[in-house]
Symmetry: D2
Subunit: 287 residues, 4 copies
Amino acid sequence: MKPTAILLLHCPDEQGIISEVTKFITDNHGNIVYLDQYVDREDGMFFMRLEWELEKFTIPREKIEDIISTLYAKRYSMEFNLYFNDDKPRMAIFVSKMSHCLYDLLARYKAGEWNVEIPCIVSNHEDLRYVAEQFDIPYYIWSIKKDHSNKAEVEAAEMELLKKERVTFIVLARYMQIISDEIINKYPNHIINIHHSFLPAFVGAKPYHQAWERGVKIIGATSHYVTAELDAGPIIDQDVTRISHKDTPESLVLKGKDLEKIVLSRAVTKHIERKILTYHNKTIIFS
Amino acid sequence: MKPTAILLLHCPDEQGIISEVTKFITDNHGNIVYLDQYVDREDGMFFMRLEWELEKFTIPREKIEDIISTLYAKRYSMEFNLYFNDDKPRMAIFVSKMSHCLYDLLARYKAGEWNVEIPCIVSNHEDLRYVAEQFDIPYYIWSIKKDHSNKAEVEAAEMELLKKERVTFIVLARYMQIISDEIINKYPNHIINIHHSFLPAFVGAKPYHQAWERGVKIIGATSHYVTAELDAGPIIDQDVTRISHKDTPESLVLKGKDLEKIVLSRAVTKHIERKILTYHNKTIIFS
Amino acid sequence: MKPTAILLLHCPDEQGIISEVTKFITDNHGNIVYLDQYVDREDGMFFMRLEWELEKFTIPREKIEDIISTLYAKRYSMEFNLYFNDDKPRMAIFVSKMSHCLYDLLARYKAGEWNVEIPCIVSNHEDLRYVAEQFDIPYYIWSIKKDHSNKAEVEAAEMELLKKERVTFIVLARYMQIISDEIINKYPNHIINIHHSFLPAFVGAKPYHQAWERGVKIIGATSHYVTAELDAGPIIDQDVTRISHKDTPESLVLKGKDLEKIVLSRAVTKHIERKILTYHNKTIIFS
Amino acid sequence: MKPTAILLLHCPDEQGIISEVTKFITDNHGNIVYLDQYVDREDGMFFMRLEWELEKFTIPREKIEDIISTLYAKRYSMEFNLYFNDDKPRMAIFVSKMSHCLYDLLARYKAGEWNVEIPCIVSNHEDLRYVAEQFDIPYYIWSIKKDHSNKAEVEAAEMELLKKERVTFIVLARYMQIISDEIINKYPNHIINIHHSFLPAFVGAKPYHQAWERGVKIIGATSHYVTAELDAGPIIDQDVTRISHKDTPESLVLKGKDLEKIVLSRAVTKHIERKILTYHNKTIIFS
């Protein structure tokens, strides 16, 4: 894997942005290996993902951000993020009692499918400690009491762990507790949740039972970034499966588990690859 | 096409119903060509669809209903409907301005795909008269005024038409006006609507715009029987298609049209084949 | 609809092509309304679709092709096609006996969904003349005899019609006769066929029967450009539907018809929008 | 879980079979909890799956098979299999180097999703020993040499293991070696393979590369029972995912892995639940 820089940007659409920026990379001997762009003509916004090899790039990597900022950010009212592919994202997984998403994430991790580190698993239950142990990953348990008397304390401990482990994003792998606003604000568009319905249908608790009650013929799962409002953050991916009158709430849960783990892992893949831009509570997903 | 009788029934589940009923058919020389059954173990209900050839059946067709009623209905607390395949359903189509569903229905009708008669098309607009004329089907226009001053009159006229044409079921092919309770009550589970979203997401007006606003990654369409509550009747079929951030409300409308016509026509097919049972605001769809 | 120019190009990938070409458009006051590009890193090929408004574009439309050719084609070893959105494609439809694809195409045409003209329908059978008449489109019949004795004559007549009607592309809407090489060579990547299977499975005749014999659980349909080799041209679109052991060859045909018409019409849409590039017997489909 | 008996049968279709058999169960105080049947009208064959609780069933379980055989098998030319739900199937997993299917199977096993025992994992490589160790399952390695000089020996060792562990069915979880005819004959319709294409397209090696070469727009995976002919056994399940010109052979492999594990596990689920009947190289899958 050759070292590359990845630039994700958006700004009001203007003629010449692509040519300016690609010319800048090229002129400085960066070999562009990925370019995808999208214009939202409704809002007049331009979005781009650019990736280039650093090997012969004449600008030292620690100066790239500053130069892009100086040359383009103000001029184009541009917001951007710069990443390096050898700077691995560090992912914390939060779980409760169901193992299917956790196993799916860890199996990919162990197989080397992802350019990521997983320094810790956090839970509010003992149940999945054995999975963490199978994969030799530290497992931490904190549970907020029903009267919320230990809420501040738990959140402080969680924040400390995330800081200590230099966690860059969080995956809620069927974690059944509300994430505190403090963590959400610390990780804007960096907490990925899997909701076990085809959002916005069946927000909240027991969506498969809701689906069964309503008599739908298709069920779904939705991965999204977590925002302050429950199940209302930017949607990253969704998928569905056909069901019939023969299904019970229990069989829906089983069928849904397969959707959940795939839809969650697809979102995690895109996040790790830095291929997601968020804008106006929506996602632009580069392919 | 040999003449057959079709029996759709449901009752509390008891041992022996299948054997009793099939033995009755067989003993009277009916050749069973279709048998499918389903037990809802949660509610303890039994559902069956049975179809047999009448050629050598020793009970005259006009006496079958009475005999089934006498022999089984009370004993098993059974509700049932009896149909004959040579007794063609008569379908009225209600439309407004969009032609895609109407064309799809009429193309199938004209190609002889369905065992159905279409005696009339009803609309609140002139727009699709040319389609009706292409297919030589009478086209009626009634529109309820915004102040509802002619509501009673319109509904009376519609009811009279439906009666005169011996309409057995109604298809709302993107008909953008509310159906009166009187018609709904006259045709319980016999009015099929197509809603242009994946219900229960995006009930009501402009669902594609709602979907676009929410940033979903999949859109859908839902065919359902019409009940008094808007978009809340028993779902017959649903289907979905994948979209991306590149889609606009306009492209969603175009993609959705393909879903709508297919999902509506699949529901109409099942209805014409008498393969739908409704129970507790859900459908059992025999295959 | 404002007049636009559409440029489809491909060439060996080099740094700076996007910036060169977009700068050229911009400098000459063309307002770019669409830009999508793709790099095949395996083959080192660059593909782009560019569309810009002509209103304030300072280069007269009749000179654009020549200028692009002069400025870029040689320098970048570029192949390109230039279209104008007000230059409507002219589509001939070839049919045999089944009406579902034909109705679907004509319903879209009549509804104004496509920027296209349909000057003629060609068939080897009388069967669908009534459909052509419903839509007031001339219907021509030519049939090649089994001994091929009239082959040259038929093809000459067809070629003459296509020329007279200035047909720019041909849609085979379940046309069950082999297209002559002469026509194929005259319309390279401009004849769209719908094959009623998930290619490359079940090439040739009676694919639904083949699928049923093999016991597959999913059937499909494939739209592709016609090349000299049967069912082997560049694939434009495919779709599938789930089936079960309960399906018969006849029910597969019915389910397949819905796939065929949608998959064919999606291909036609992309072709009319000039969003398809072909390269090495594959298609690049811009979104 | 109450103990039940499961009867899978097929025979030429005759009136009265359902009533005879269900009456027999009922008369002997068996509480039927599942009944599904299917008639292949083409071949005139009847298929049924019946499950009933044994608690109050008056016939001792060890005599049921004999009685069914005596009462019905000859009379109806019936073939049948009788299972008891507390008689857990014993599954051997064969793997090579890729872990995704193995992890998916073991994660379900460990989560208690399946009524199954997994006494052993067999491989021709060392690579996945660590997975077996994570889940504490014995791991055996045998590899047939390229000159096949140790073929007989390896097969004898495998057969001995399967016998010793009382293995009732085998799952090939991306096992890249041909299974010997001896094992196939010993486990007819009891060896489940996952093929990484939408069969019958792309039989044999490197199907994702074949798919990429052909330029398909959808890829698939197929689970099937293994027969003597390569990739030609009865298909149990298939699924597909949409791809585009942007995909490379490598990205197809990644997307395909998600299909493979889900399609394989769905087949294993159905097999464990004894819901698959095979007939004429096809499967009847009860829901």
